[in-house]
Amino acid sequence: MSENQNLPDVAREDGHGTVAVSQRFDNPGLPPHRQRVTDIDAAAAKRAERQVATLFGLSGVGTILALVAYFALPYDLEAGYIEHLGQVKLSNALIGVGLFIALFGIGAGAVHWAKTLMPDEERVEERHELRGSDEDRAAALGILSEGAEEAGLGRRPLIRNSLIGAMALAPLPAVVLLRDLGPMPEAKLSETIWKKGTPLVRDPEGGKLKASDLVNGSVVHVLPEGLEETEHPLNEKAKAPVLLIRLDPELLDEASSAGAYEGIVAYSKICTHMGCPVALYEQQTHHLLCPCHQSTFDLRQNCKVIFGPARRPLPQLPITVDEEGYLVAADGFHEAVGPSFWERG
């Protein structure tokens, strides 16, 4: 063992970098142990004992409280929901407080017991080197090479190599078997159920709209009619939501005017960043803001991104009216809606 116990035993290969041992102070060893009151005063020890027992007793009271709260408190399912919410909260809170007392009492009692009544003199245990002794290491090495020799690993490379090959191939089925987790994407990410003539209906209440239903500056959330009749309504709903906004036609640029009807424009509500619904409309600035990462789209510039992490404008849905004057899609979306993906191009 080194002269100074504070320095590691194992010598450095090269001995650089550390201050020479003789230049250092010596470890003074453990300071003398100081006794606690409970070590010298029997009355104090008795008091500590009673405190511990009180904490354990308190825990029992907590358990009873939790049980009483469980059984005795009304949990009346007929109540109006506000009262019901209140009852649920009261019941849970009291069961919780009871449980807290039950658990905390045990914990605090045990710690107090250890701190006041169990020995508090620190003990010393020696560490042993983690590596095996040189003999152990030699023996282990001997066993391994003997075993390898017995198996003929070195002598019969054909066996070894074919085994490695077999092991490398064997997991393949495990990967292939995952193939049926889902279908191929095909063109699904690029399609929505909007097509020429699909009526716009209010989201969520339903009902078709006429141009006169929208006043200047108003926003209406819409969905394509017939969404619920599709095979996977929720999947379609993840792509189809549209925002309908009426602006002063003067404000629209040329590109957006083309798909507009009397100043009413329709844009995909699905953020081109990560797909959150973009639905905060600032009337003064004519900006649409996505609540997830604050991408901001400018309605006067065909929903171009003017701030935030999104790159692409919100795709516009060209709209018109049918014979009865209801707003309908003039065509489907001309590009994929929502977040980007590799094949989007």
Binding site: L7, H16, P28, V305
Partner: protein, 546 residues
């Protein structure tokens, strides 16, 4: 029952188990093992205990929760939701909250424990980092710890998604968009994971299996390995009088540590229960079931996802472009995958990076005081600053509302700060550490200030300094410093290359770590200072290389 009969009964039980399992050997090996005591060692315990709480409450929840995205019409007791189309997962989670007595409490304990679990692991990791507990022979446990933190984040995110409410569904949509952004395979991966298009009906049952079976099994295995290694290698200890690199000073596992640590489990469980009883978390009934169309303004994920959310918010759109007919979404890939990757890889490899700089291959069982390793401490502070800035960025909308500032200004400011602040914190921390070390030297050389002012006969005033006793002094002089490899000749006197002198890179790294340093006081210096008792010059005289 009298004491003797109790003892007899206990004796025969002990005999029974020993003859079948050899239990006495285990008791002999374990029961009196010494564990050092320090408040910072309780951080890992908090993590372990919250994991146990998660297991207990999680099993309770799984008795009532229905892992299905199948559609149903809510007809429970919560009036505002009645007749709404929701998933069975959502309906059953509302059911746990309202129809099962104590169910809401269990949900809240489970959720609070999850928050505490990841937080405790993270702070525990900081403790291990700043005290150098990751050094040989504990590198493997460092790696396991890093993996546990990462898996904890994943597990928490999946659990958070199980109720299938509006908030968590939005989180899943974001996760699916990150997957879609992966070049070449993104769309396929997403379709395989979701069993088709988002959201589909496969996702909830799939993440349920991962959340309650796969990941908990991995946690158990890794935590088990973590603890077995702890026993084999024995716990590190803080330096102090009587504590050396070859001993462990502390209390025996039985009874003192059993009582303290076991008691602490109940305290942690109790406090988390109280928190859950009084503070509502994740009131999913107020959000409604998941629906891709409605919005929740100001939606926030659980705290541990915040840094990734923040990174995503800081990014600008320029990262996305089309080339060769394909879409490259670096506006998503950089913050959501690259930055977390670049944060975790150096973290996992850190023990080896530092080992390379020190060339030190010895075992270390005595912890460092963070000030005595200024470069490591400063690097850690820099990393934490970066992390916290990302985390704050995740709350930019909340800050904008609370501080009534423009969200754009806040985001732009954070975009600048993320580059400037971490290096500044590095420099400041390093200076603080070096300053504290000089203060330590001063204390050793001139004693503790007593606040007693004495007037000498000649009219001079000075403060009485009381010399440190040898135990207090030891705390300030016990550490060793490293010299940069570059300051040692790479060849010995005979022109033979010294082993371990290192390559150019290694020397540069070593210089970066150890060029600035303050050596601990030596006995000779102390003697000199006593000799010349006003000798303030002596403080700096030997603290080389500033």
């Amino acid at each position: 029952m009298t004491t003797t009969t109790t003892a007899k009964k206990a004796g025969s039980l002990a005999n029974w188990t020993d003859e079948r399992l050899g239990a006495s050997k285990g008791v002999k090996f374990l029961a009196r093992k010494i564990f050092p005591d320090h408040w910072s060692f309780m951080l890992g315990e908090v993590a372990l205990y919250s994991f146990i709480i998660l297991l207990l409450t999680g099993v309770f929840l799984s008795l009532f929760y229905i892992p299905s995205a199948g559609h149903t019409v809510y007809d429970g007791v919560y009036a505002p939701l009645v007749n709404q189309q929701v998933s069975e997962a959502y309906a059953s989670t509302v059911g746990i909250s309202f129809d099962v007595r104590g169910g809401l409490l269990m949900r809240q304990i489970h959720h609070w424990a999850a928050l505490v679990f990841v937080a405790a692991m993270t702070v525990h990791m900081f403790r291990v980092f700043f005290t150098g507990a990751f050094r040989k022979p504990r590198e493997l446990n460092w790696v396991i710890g890093c993996v546990l933190v990462l898996l904890g984040i994943v597990e928490g995110f999946l659990g958070y998604s199980l109720p299938d409410d509006l908030l968590s569904g939005t989180g899943i949509r974001i996760a699916s968009s990150i997957i879609l952004a992966i070049p070449v395979v993104g769309s396929y991966l997403s379709f395989f994971l979701f069993g088709g298009e988002f959201p589909g009906e496969s996702f909830i049952p799939r993440i349920y299996t991962i959340h309650v079976l796969l990941l908990p099994a991995i946690f158990l295995a890794l935590i088990g390995a973590h603890l077995v290694m702890l026993v084999i290698q024995k716990h590190t200890q803080y330096p102090g009088p009587g504590r050396t690199n070859t001993n462990v000073v502390g209390y025996p596992l039985f009874p003192v540590y059993t009582a303290k640590a076991g008691g602490f489990f109940f305290i942690v469980f109790g406090v988390i229960t109280l928190l859950s009883a009084l503070v509502t978390i994740n009131p999913i009934w107020a959000y409604g079931g998941y629906d891709p169309s409605p919005v929740t303004a100001g939606s926030q994920p659980d705290w541990y996802m915040g840094f990734m959310d923040g990174a995503v918010r800081l990014m600008t759109g320029w990262g996305e472009f089309t080339a060769f007919g394909f879409t490259w979404s670096f506006n998503i890939l950089i913050p959501a995958l690259l930055i977390p990757g670049l944060m975790t890889i150096p973290l996992i490899l850190y023990p080896w990076i530092e080992q390379w700089a020190t060339g030190d291959r010895r075992e270390h069982h005595l912890l460092d005081r963070p000030r005595n390793v200024p470069t490591r401490t400063a690097l850690g502070a820099m990393g934490i600053t970066f992390y916290i800035l990302l985390w704050i960025s995740g709350g930019n909308d909340i800050m904008a509302t609370v501080l009534r500032l423009s969200i754009n200004d806040i985001t732009l400011t954070l975009r600048v700060l993320i580059f400037i602040l971490p290096p500044v914190v590095y420099i400041v921390t390093k200076r603080i550490c070096l300053g504290m070390q000089r203060k330590d030297r001063d204390k050793v050389l001139h004693g503790r200030e007593t606040a007693v002012i004495v007037r000498t006969e000649s009219g001079e005033y000075f403060e009485v300094h009381e010399p440190l006793d040898e135990y207090k002094r030891w705390n300030l002089v016990q550490h060793e410093t490293h010299e940069p490899l570059a300051e040692l000749p790479s060849e010995d006197a005979n022109g033979v290359r010294r082993p371990g002198a290192g390559s150019g890179w290694k020397r540069r790294l070593s210089k970066f770590y150890f060029e600035q340093r303050v050596e601990p006081v030596t006995p000779a210096e102390l003697a000199a200072a006593h000799h010349d008792h006003h000798g303030h010059e002596a403080i700096e005289a030997t603290s080389a290389h500033h």
